[in-house]
Amino acid sequence: MAKKISRISRLLLAALVVAGLSGCGNIEPWVKPYERDQLADPIMALDGDPVSTAYIQHVYEAREGAKGGEGAVGGGCGCN
């Protein structure tokens, strides 16, 4: 019985993965380009001050044991 459930759940998982992948090409952007004026406002820039941010992260890395994971790899909103 447990084996059967395990097989069914694997099939379901595979079906979900296939459905998910096939859906990738059809994802409709739910926030349209013309709806991104608020995201394009300078106050929404995730790093509007790169020199200042790099400096303060440098201070934290010198004063604390942790480092990384704070957005150095960046990313954008595609709203320009």
């Binding site: 952007p29 106050i43 020199v51 200042s52 992260q57 890395e61 990384g68 790899v73 960046g74 595609g78």
Partner: protein, 379 residues
Amino acid sequence: MIRRGLISVILLLSFGASHAGVLPDDRADVLYHLYDGGGVEIDGPSVLVRKKAGKSMSFVGNYYVDMISSASIDVITTASPYTEERTQWSLGMDYLRGNTTMRVGYTNSVESDFNANSYAFSVSQDMFGDLTTLTLSYGLGDDLVRSSVDENFEEPLDRQIYGLGITQILTKNLISTINVETVTEEGYLNNPYRVVRYADPLSATGYSFEPELYPNTRTSNAVGLRARYFLPYRAAIEGEYRYFTDTWNIESHTAALTYIHPWRDWTFTGKFRYYDQTGAHFYRDLFARAQETNFRGRDKELSPLTSYTLKLQAAYEFISDDGTKAWGFVKRAKVTASLNVLSVDYHDFSDLTAQAPVGEEPLYQLDANIFQIYVSFFY
């Protein structure tokens, strides 16, 4: 030697938080920074220039100087106050092709007893109608540790940084980002000057010092989440959380809340940041005897600690983006002043300057003011 803390600089200055399908804005920043706290004063300039070349390339350069005057708690209890200078420069290039941006960066940092070369590479891809940006990054650090008291001392330190970032537009007024980063380090991770303290009944103070000895490898993992929300009356609020863990048994949590409020030509920012960490497994404030454990450290940054930072910032836009260009080329310009008030409570690091029996000294506490003023031109 202030070698710690270069990782963010390597990647941030080279890459910044940019769009995959759009090149970063042309800009120039001139910054003066001042750190004053715990007997340490560090100040200096930082200059960044970014300029597009054609429609698909953007170049960035940064020059940064730390001028250090140190009489920190470590220095006054085990050595002599010193002055030092660190000079760092970075170069980077972004190349845009369709929805993909590739970036390369190089950073060199030089001190009298430390030389660091860092290389970084990343690829960003916009997906799903530009709602999602996926970034993969890789960094390589090639450092050389020397000692000002032993000219024959020279040890390498290699570092590799792997990053994965996703920025996601969730709604028309909410944007979020997740960043995962793994850092592996191999080589001389000690500080050649720092010592550990051990109980010594033969000493008048009740303790003596011996050189610290760290493992020569360290691997750390960090995951950070940020979300910024546009408030209905044109202001923004941001929440941040980061979890960090490493093979030295340091585990930390960082949380921060930021509020940004524009008013006429001004933008005011307030931020509160909380940080808490456990200590490294080889850290002791006082070892029971000399060479008690295989690895030994008494670096206060590796002790259990909690820190709090309050940031207040004001920016004034003195040239607005109204379609005209000042001086023939400047579209927008602003001046920004910021103050970060940092307070660190060490939970297992004694203040040896206090007159107290060995093992009963009060815990050390650090307060620092971090001041920045900078002018930014967008052209």
